[in-house]
């Protein structure tokens, strides 16, 4: 399993945001205290396909991968270049992958990487594919209103590319997955899809009680409810994942959860009584890059020597949908 990533080319720091909002409650240090984030990568004009191609090219170059050996491309995004055609088809073309490559998009957010691995494990097991490029590529900032502090302080744009082959089937453990669509209204871009096409009305800006501005064309996130959902769903999912994989909590070398923000991660860590040194938290320079957070964290943890070949890692994704999933990796 090989990992690489590409971040949005621009950076928005806490100082940038503090200057923009110009409110004492939102100084640079207060933003850091609330979120654990110092800066977030953002795209200007780049599309999800651009970030995806960037991450994949870095991966190919670093590991000298022969692109003709790739026979499947899985792309996870909620900001596709077009409704149709499939963004993965565009990426196949730009990466000059063979025409015998299978390619598809799937639409998930924070749980995307775990689900992507479940799909990859299946395709490899049935021999529908022998070498899979699994790409998470997300540009949430394109949906965010600049005057919505609740989301602009949190999200960043990035793509992560992971290469998987048949030997990885046994490196990926058993999955625990879950869905609760009743949570849909709590993290949503209300307009732009078939349910509510964009119009001059959907573009109408509203200001909420907290002074955040957004229209129906922008992301709405109910922070407290999502926080509560996470506390309801994740600890139980982690316990069941350990059970299903016949592992004790102590046998996990590192817990790498979706890097939503530092506060929720610390709460989960404390709830599960995981020692700090075995629980990965790093949102400082990336913020929440949605489906890319887990593979980026795995790559950084490998680079920093926190994990190595043979390490046992429990990964857990949770969020928009609501959707959640976890598994164990033996690297």
């Amino acid at each position: 399993m090989l990992f690489q990533f590409e971040l949005g080319a621009q950076s928005v720091t806490n100082d940038d945001l503090a200057a923009f909002y110009n409110e004492p409650k939102w100084s640079a240090s207060k933003i850091y205290c609330k979120t654990g984030i110092r800066s977030r990568p953002v795209v200007m004009d780049e599309l999800v396909s651009d970030l995806a191609v960037g991450a994949a090219e870095r991966l190919f170059e670093e590991y000298e991968i022969d692109r003709n050996s790739v026979d499947f491309l899985l792309l996870c995004t909620q900001s596709p270049d077009y409704f149709l055609p499939t963004t993965a088809c565009l990426v196949q073309h730009r990466l000059s992958l063979p025409k015998s490559t299978g390619a598809l998009d799937f639409n998930l957010g924070c749980s995307g990487f775990v689900y992507g691995l479940s799909l990859a494990q299946g395709l490899l097991s049935t021999r529908a594919a022998s070498k899979i490029l699994l790409i998470m590529s997300e540009t949430y900032t394109r949906h965010i209103h600049p005057m919505d502090k609740s989301t602009r302080t949190i999200f960043g744009d990035a793509a992560a590319a992971t290469l998987l082959h048949r030997e990885d089937i046994s490196r990926i453990g058993k999955f625990v997955l879950g869905t609760d669509g009743s949570g849909a209204p709590n993290l949503i871009v209300p307009s732009g899809g078939m349910a509510c096409p964009r119009s001059s009305e959907t573009a109408n800006e509203q200001t909420d009680e907290a002074g955040n501005v957004r229209s129906m064309d922008n992301i709405y996130m109910n922070g407290p409810e999502i926080f509560s959902f996470t506390l309801r769903a994740v600890p139980d999912m982690v316990r069941r994942t350990l059970e299903r994989n016949e592992l004790s909590a102590e046998e996990i070398d590192l817990y790498v959860f979706h890097q939503a923000n530092r506060f929720i991660l610390e709460n989960l860590r404390d709830r599960l009584e995981i020692p700090e040194e075995r629980f990965y938290i790093d949102v400082e320079e990336t913020g929440n890059t949605v489906s890319a957070t887990i593979p980026i964290a795995l790559r950084n943890a490998l680079d920093n020597g926190l994990i190595r070949e043979g390490s046992i890692v429990l990964i857990a994704g949770f969020g928009v949908g609501y959707s959640w999933g976890a598994t164990v990796l033996r690297l």
Binding site: S150, A210, F227, S228, L231, R232, F263, N267, D270, R271
Partner: protein
């Protein structure tokens, strides 16, 4: 009771004198989304209860929060 009010004041990072049972939450400067999250976190940690969306919405006074602070 004092202890519970102190826990709430602590979570909200508010002065203890302001946190009385009848206090209307909307009147508190600290009752923003971060404050709500801090209270949800405190209730989960200390009282093992995770509020649902409709329960969060229904919180209007400090008394409403105190209702959830029962030993289990």
């Amino acid at each position: 009771m004092e202890e519970k009010l102190a826990l709430i004041a602590d979570a909200l990072d508010a002065d203890k004198e302001v946190i009385t049972p009848e206090k209307v939450l909307e009147e508190l400067e600290e009752w923003d989304s971060m404050g709500v999250i801090a209270v949800i976190s405190m209730l989960d940690k200390k009282y093992k209860i995770q509020l649902k969306a409709d329960q969060i919405k229904a919180l209007k006074t400090i008394n409403d929060i105190l209702e959830y602070m029962q030993e289990r």
